[in-house]
């Protein structure tokens, strides 16, 4: 009988395929992780501070304490993700050694390498990476990312950047589909992405990996908006545990993602959720963009 093979592309992308149509929630304690699981999250992102607190406190944001990640892992049965700094392959090695299910190489943490991302092919654990447009998405896939999330602006509670990035990716793919095959070489050069991935994207009419939305989703309506814009699922960071009634809001966002195309259901689950998180206007003076920290 054939030997088993771990960490193949089918296995890496496969887990993301199992998460489709679901909500991945940021949690900072085992108790929050349990609330997320009870609400129907498909996975949790274990981190020390949610992005809203990273923004408020400032300083360098790093990978979380492994002890804290272990405790969250022990508290739930759903997959646990954790963030490593961009280019910090040793943080990624540590997370792999901890048995984390997915690593988010995230611009929300302070980048450790402002030129190179992690070579994700070198790992058996799969990675999710952020993007603002099609070129950035395909560069990450070329480096081995098995899942993509549009970046948005984490910790703002403002969905405008998430929408901008989702539209940028989808719009570029539609444009790509109208092109002649002869034109793909120059287009790939403009995108700064490998031509074979550009060709594959044209043929599929979508990114070749699972594509979630992230960065600013705060309400069930925001989540359903991202789904109707063609995303495969949603990350919710500060939006849940920075709101008035996290358990109720978490449940509502899960329902809105499953039934994103049924306004009557989204209306019903949106009722009486308490205070949403306080939002930040991304055009405010002194606003620091996390999305622009890597390309």
């Amino acid at each position: 009988m054939a030997e088993q093979q771990r960490g193949t592309q089918a296995v890496k992308v496969g887990l993301a395929q199992m998460l489709k149509g679901g909500v991945i929630m940021d949690v900072v304690t085992p108790e929050e992780a349990r609330i997320a699981e009870e609400a129907g999250a498909v996975a949790v992102m274990a981190l020390e501070r949610v992005p809203a607190d990273i923004r408020r406190n400032g300083g360098v944001a790093r990978m979380s304490d492994p002890q804290m990640i272990r405790e969250i892992k022990a508290a739930v049965t759903i997959p646990v993700m954790a963030k490593a700094r961009i280019g910090h392959f040793v943080e990624a090695q540590i997370l792999e050694a901890l048995g984390i299910d997915y690593i988010d190489e995230s611009e929300v943490l302070t980048p450790a390498d402002d030129v190179h991302h992690i070579n994700k092919h070198a790992f058996k654990v799969p990675f999710v990476c952020g993007c603002r447009d099609l070129g950035e998405a395909l560069r990450r896939v070329a480096e081995g990312a098995a899942m993509i999330r549009t970046k948005g602006e984490a910790g703002t509670g403002n969905v405008v950047e998430a929408v901008r990035h989702a539209r940028a990716v989808q719009g570029a793919i539609r444009q790509l589909q109208t092109m002649d095959d002869d034109e793909l070489y120059v287009y790939a050069k403009e995108l700064r992405a490998p031509v074979d991935l550009v060709r594959q994207t044209k043929a599929l009419g979508r990114l070749p990996v699972v594509n979630f939305a992230a960065g600013g989703v705060a309400t069930p309506a925001d989540a359903a908006l991202m789904m109707q814009l063609g995303m495969d699922g949603v990350f919710v960071g500060s939006g849940i545990f920075k709101s008035g009634d996290p358990a109720k809001r978490a449940r509502a966002i899960v329902q809105a993602v499953t039934h994103y195309n049924d306004p009557a259901i989204v209306a019903e689950v949106s009722c009486d959720l308490g205070e949403p998180m306080v939002g930040i206007d991304v055009r405010e003076k002194g606003f620091q963009s996390y999305a622009g920290r890597s390309e």
């Binding site: 009988m1 093979q5 193949t8 089918a10 199992m18 679901g22 498909v42 049965t77 979508r206 359903a224």
Partner: protein, 251 residues
Amino acid sequence: MAADRATRIGVLALQGSFREHMTLLARIPGVQAVEVRTKAELESCAGLIIPGGESTTMALVAERWGLIPELQQFAAQERPIWGTCAGLIFLANRASGTKEGGQALLGGLDCTVQRNYFGAQINSFETLLPAPACLPRDSDPADTFRAVFIRAPAITETGSGVEVLAEYRLTKEEQAVQQRDSVVVAVRSGALMATAFHPELTQDSRWHELFVDMVRKHAAERAAAAAAAPAPDPAAKLGRVPTRPADLPVY
């Protein structure tokens, strides 16, 4: 075959890899695949696939809209159900390794499953397993099928009426952890079938053909199936349907 006489197979579309199942079903002649989110959609189907995904999420969403009793009734009418991975956990009578407080399960399959049997994602794997005799032959002389296991459950005990379709031989490392040589990964019992792996992540549609065959045999026995309710119009919803294709490449 006329469209109105096609075998209508539902795929529970609450979360997970339902799209992949739809794509493979679409390749089988005479099959109409339907995404099932509501009671009305379920009612129109002669058989149902519960896809891979997070069993806790699917159970909670199904519960919220009262779908659990509907699914139980579907099973009680002995309309065939096939569960893959999370779907297997739905169908098993006993499950261990579930979240605190347990999960709302459908049951019906006399076996015990253990969630996340192989551990975390780094232990997920793919392999080739010997094809059971009931699986349609393909051109492969070794007669194997590609099995992808993603944070997969396994069947640790089976009742007497349960037919074992596939077993997986554990690696030395896994044997040391589990204290056994092999574990059951596919079973069939009456109108229920369950697999711990994901045929929907491969190009191989033989497991889907096997299930369609089960559904057709059952529908033939049950003449009433011909009078199944018409499928609701999927375009009747008010929201905007995403304009991009949903199919991912098969790796």
